[in-house]
């Protein structure tokens, strides 16, 4: 690129760089291959590749980028690629712990086999529900049970028959009371009422009484033997039941075990089921009675057979290839580490192993888990829980209510599940830097940083990449395809968003919004394809919607409420340019900067700073001016200047040093008493040697001054001085470029203060000659002479009075 001539405005082709799509052949974006990830991010991509391949603990990935960059899309694509090469991880199930039910057992199975186990156990229990009652209703069982009962009953009845016969022989009846037994005198088969009994002769009454006392002993003895006999009967029947059940379930259990013979823990669990069925065979024989009993005895959840079920926590289906990549968009504690749900039964909250639900860590185990950092940090307890899981390398389901001390209900302590996951946090840089500085654990658990660039160098290749991105956005969101012109305009806007004609933004969100709005505009215009016109319209509408404050500011200028001159010239007065950014909408506007000087102690007063409206960078810029003035003009005399600088009609804060060159021009103007052109506006910072340095928002600043000038009517002399180094950032609006091309407006690239002052005053800045002096009439000579005069005046005054009490300019 040829060097720029500061005296000449930039040619139109330097004000806007159009897209170059010659390398890409397409009519509309429908023909472009979709883009899964943003390329040209070698540093970040290498980091992610390294992180995914690094199997050592702690090498999790922190992917950072600008807000709106949508880096998760790229991260996801990279993780998917890496996951495809990894084996499918295990399935996990929770099953009942028959010994300690509050500690469910976690079992790992080869991928995809958990549902088979679930079904096998379901089928087993269903079979047993039929076959076990059948076994107990069988003739064989009934005969054996009947034999046991009759044998014991026979022994019982024999004892009672003997007692009854004895009682009958003695004229005594055995009566059943609600709670036991009693004896009473009997006559003719009927109990003798007390009145009749009392009428009997004394000997007879005595005989009855004696007989009852004797029989009571027999009755007591017989009844006391009852529990023992009943226990004998129960034991015998229970043993028969166990034997019957063992025989009935042996084969189905063996069949089931044989299908999982390669999994010892599953076999162990099936044996536990077998043992439990033997202990609780009544569940199968008489489920209704057992259910009623259980319901009366306590709070039960679901069916009695639920205890045998398999809770499939995570399984890998046949359709899935490789390891999982999961994104947790709502990483609450329970969504992250899983949860134990409760159900209300009789007013109380109860749970069991079937209510254990998987979290994203479970689902991603063996693969990768992506979490938006902001979402993670805004969920209470989640960040700490994630760190704990990574530290312990196991997933422990933590009950949030218990954490907070909110409930004391019955809950579970499921087996922890070993964790082998690559956690990828993504978010904006500021959040990452804050977290890294505030929480030292961050570095321990996230050793790999993938820092995504906000923009990419502009080249035919990168423009082609953005074109494909645009196509992918349009296709993915169901928008209208874009033609070449539309794509080119979006790419050019991407450069504008990057604030640099040689860069393209990677803020996908902004590109997406523009493509969507352009599609809408095309629809409104009845077009099936988005054209350049539609994109222009969308950009204009975006600006229009957000331009209320911008327009009000310009209106104030046009009505001369905010004083900005765009013609003529003034001493010590210049048009500076500032950028305001409100909710993502940035716009430039001119600001009048003025300066006054008088003899003093070498101090430049920044009035903004004095009233605490100026920020530190702005103050720094002003202080640099002292360095410049001292270094250039006060080589052999003390600086005897008191100067004040102010942003006129500025009532808000001023920050940044982009106005420091304008401030210097104002200062030089007032010192040299040379007027400055008001049809030019200035932006750029300056160093102590008078070199003009790059600033931000150059496009907005130029457009801000252009809009004011255009509203008043372009004179053909108006323009903006920008740092030469900012020329490469120009992506100006079409109307500005058009005006410049027509010679109605100009953008001047300036490298030094001398170049700028020459443009602003029409007078040469001047260079020191061999005599060490600046040429007569040059701006520098005038400034130097004025400062020398100040020094003399101060010297003279210093003999009589304190310098601060001296007069003005």
């Amino acid at each position: 690129m040829p060097p720029l001539d500061p005296a000449s405005p930039l040619p139109p082709e330097r004000l806007y760089r159009p897209a170059d799509l010659t390398a890409l052949s397409f009519a509309t974006t429908e023909e472009l291959a979709p883009l899964r990830e943003l390329v040209d991010q070698p540093r970040a991509h290498e980091a992610i590749r390294f992180g995914t391949e690094m199997g050592v603990r702690g090498f999790n990935i922190f992917a950072i980028g600008a807000i709106g960059a949508h880096i998760q899309g790229s991260v996801r694509a990279l993780l998917d690629d890496a996951a495809g090469k990894r084996p499918k991880p295990s399935d996990w199930v929770y099953v009942n712990n028959f010994v300690t039910p509050h500690r469910p057992v976690a079992i790992s199975l080869p991928p995809g086999r958990a549902p088979a186990l679930d079904k096998a156990v379901d089928d087993l229990i269903d079979d047993l529900k039929v076959s076990l009652p059948g076994a107990f209703e069988s003739e064989d069982y009934q005969k054996r049970r009947s034999a046991i009962e009759q044998q014991i009953r026979g022994r019982n009845e024999h004892a009672f028959s003997a007692l009854r016969d004895k009682a009958t022989a003695k004229g005594i009846a055995i009566l059943r009371t609600p709670m036991g037994f009693a004896m009473a005198p009997m006559k003719d088969g009927q109990v003798v009422p007390p009145a009749e009994f009392n009428a009997w002769p004394a000997e007879q009454r005595h005989a009855v009484q004696t007989a009852i006392e004797e029989l009571e002993k027999d009755l007591e003895e017989t009844l006391r033997a009852l529990p023992r006999l009943e226990r004998e009967q129960r034991d015998a029947v229970r043993e028969l039941d166990r034997e019957t059940a063992r025989f009935a379930i042996a084969q189905p259990i063996e069949d089931c075990k044989s299908r999982f013979a390669d999994l010892p823990k599953v076999v162990q669990h099936l044996e536990a089921i077998q043992a439990d069925i033997l202990e609780n065979v009544a569940l199968f024989i008489n489920p209704q009675a057992t259910g009623e009993e259980a319901a009366l005895g306590g709070m039960r959840l679901g069916s009695l057979f639920d205890r045998y079920e398999v809770n499939v926590l995570v399984t890998r289906t046949d359709g899935e290839a490789g390891a999982p990549v999961i994104e947790d968009v709502h990483p609450t504690l329970s969504n992250l580490v899983g949860r134990i749900e409760h159900l209300a039964v009789q007013g109380a909250l109860v749970t069991n192993f079937r209510l254990i639900k998987a979290g994203s860590l479970h689902r991603a185990n063996g693969g990768a888990l992506m979490i938006d950092l902001r979402n993670l940090l805004t969920e209470p307890l989640s960040w700490a829980a994630l760190k704990r899981a990574l530290l312990r390398q196991e997933i422990v389901i933590e009950d949030v209510a218990r954490f907070m001390g909110m409930t004391t209900t019955v809950t579970l302590e499921p087996d922890p599940i070993p964790l082998d996951v690559k956690v990828v946090l993504f978010g904006d840089r500021m959040l990452y830097y804050m977290l890294a500085s505030l929480d030292p654990d961050t570095a321990q658990h996230f050793k790999v940083l993938a820092d995504f660039d906000d923009d990419v160098d502009r080249s035919p290749a990168s423009e082609a990449m953005i074109a494909r991105l645009i196509g992918s956005i349009a296709a993915g969101a169901g928008l209208k395809p874009l033609d070449r012109g539309g794509v080119a305009r979006v790419i050019e806007h991407a450069a504008r968003l990057a604030d640099d004609a040689s860069k393209l933004t990677l803020l996908v969100e902004s590109i997406h919004d523009l493509v969507a709005e352009a599609s809408y505009c095309a629809g409104q215009g009845g077009r099936g394809v988005v054209t350049r016109v539609d994109v222009e319209q969308a950009i204009a509408q975006q600006r229009r919607r957000a331009s209320r404050v911008e327009e009000r500011g310009r209106e104030m200028i046009l009505r001369d409420i905010a004083l900005i001159a765009t013609t003529g010239s003034r001493v010590g007065q210049i048009n500076g340019l500032s950028v305001l950014s409100l909710a993502g909408h940035a716009f430039g506007q001119p600001t009048r900067i003025t300066s006054r000087v008088r003899p003093g102690a070498g101090r430049i007063v920044d009035i903004e700073r004095e009233v605490e409206l100026g920020g530190p960078i702005h103050s720094k810029g002003v202080l640099i001016l002292s360095g410049f003035l001292g270094g250039r003009y006060a080589l052999d005399t003390p600086m005897s200047l008191y100067a004040s600088l102010v942003f006129e009609q500025s009532y808000g804060g001023v920050e940044g040093d982009s106005a420091s060159s304008a401030e210097l021009y104002a200062l030089l103007s007032v010192l040299a008493e040379v007027p400055l052109r008001q049809d030019l506006a200035v932006t750029g910072s300056v160093d102590q040697h008078g070199r003009v340095q790059a600033i931000g928002g150059v496009n907005e600043k130029i457009e801000g001054f252009f809009d004011v000038c255009a509203a008043r009517g372009l004179t053909g002399t108006q323009g903006v001085l920008i740092p030469e180094s900012n020329a490469q950032h120009l992506m100006l609006r079409a109307d500005v470029v058009e005006a410049c091309a027509a010679g109605r407006f100009a953008v001047f690239p300036v490298r030094t203060i001398d170049q700028g002052i020459q443009l602003l005053t029409g007078r040469a800045a001047g260079e020191r000659g061999g005599d060490g002096k600046y040429p007569e009439g040059s701006v520098n000579r005038l400034v130097e002479d004025r400062l020398a005069a100040f020094a003399k005046a101060r010297q003279a005054f210093g003999r009589d009075a304190p310098p601060e009490a001296s007069g003005g300019t």
Partner: protein, 278 residues
């Protein structure tokens, strides 16, 4: 019971351990199948509270395993509570089946009550006492004797019921055997198979099958087995692998002691035994 006669009610003794859900359900299901009302009877020991006046009469309470003095009020309260609980269970079970039920607390001699209340066509349901001792108590023996001695049919329900579904078995040893008719009606109503255990000449079996078909039962739901005799052992042999839900036999079909016969079959098979009057 005369062939084709209509039963009026099923009378269920709710005293002496019969106030159990399974027993009540068996009686209620029978009433439902035959379209009868269920009449629950709680037999109070009328003499019991009065006996408290005799100071040497004591009560052996099973819960404490000790002798206690009889207390008139307490005994009366406990009898009322037992009656109330029996009524609650009856209402619950019968209510669930939607059948007409009646509950009554009876004092005095059970034989008199049965004689006064029951008639040919009724079915008296008696539960096998859970405790062997209960079989020997005065009121139980009286109730059983009265039930088997009256004109009504008697169904003995074992304490441990093995099954509630399955064929209805009938012991047939004569033409127009009442057991066949009532068993066929129950089988038809329940949608079950009728298992005929026929003891007699060969033509009796075909005649019995024809009579069963005449009640509306399809042939495929009629199974005929011949038994060599009508002793309880012959019947049990005939029932082998029958998986029946109920055994029906005519009074005196297996000997004079119907109570003993039905008790033996019920205990051996774990199913109710209905003894119908000729």
């Amino acid at each position: 019971m005369a062939a084709g006669s209509q039963h009026h009610q099923v009378i269920l003794d709710l005293h002496h351990g019969a106030a159990e859900r399974a027993i009540i359900r068996a009686a209620a299901e029978l009433a439902q199948l035959l379209g009868l009302a269920l009449h629950g009877v709680f037999l109070e020991e009328e003499a019991l509270p009065e006996l408290a006046e005799l100071p040497f009469i004591r009560e052996f309470r099973l819960a404490t395993g000790a002798w206690h003095k009889l207390d008139r009020e307490r005994i009366a309260d406990e009898q009322r509570a037992a009656a109330s609980e029996a009524q609650r269970l009856l209402d619950e079970v019968a209510g669930a089946l939607g059948i007409v039920r009646l509950f009554e607390v009876v004092s005095g001699d059970p034989a008199l009550f049965i004689a006064a209340t029951s008639q040919a066509g009724d079915i008296i349901v008696v539960a096998q006492p859970r405790l062997p001792a209960e079989r020997l108590v005065h009121a139980t023996t009286h109730w059983l004797e009265a039930a088997h001695g009256c004109a009504a049919s008697v169904m003995l329900v074992p304490q441990a019921l093995v099954r509630r579904q399955g064929p209805v078995a009938a012991v047939v040893c004569a033409r127009s055997d009442p057991a066949l008719h009532i068993a066929a009606r129950i089988a038809a109503a329940a949608g079950e198979t009728l298992l005929l255990l026929v003891s007699g000449p060969p033509e009796l079996a075909s005649d019995a099958a024809a009579q069963a078909r005449a009640t509306g039962l399809p042939s495929q739901r009629i199974v005929v087995r011949s038994i060599p005799g009508v002793t309880p052992e012959d019947v049990l042999q005939g029932l082998d692998a029958g998986n029946e839900r109920l055994v029906v036999l005519a009074r005196g079909a297996c000997g004079v002691d119907d109570a003993a016969v039905s008790s033996h079959i019920a205990a051996s098979r774990g199913v109710p035994v209905l003894v119908v009057e000729p």
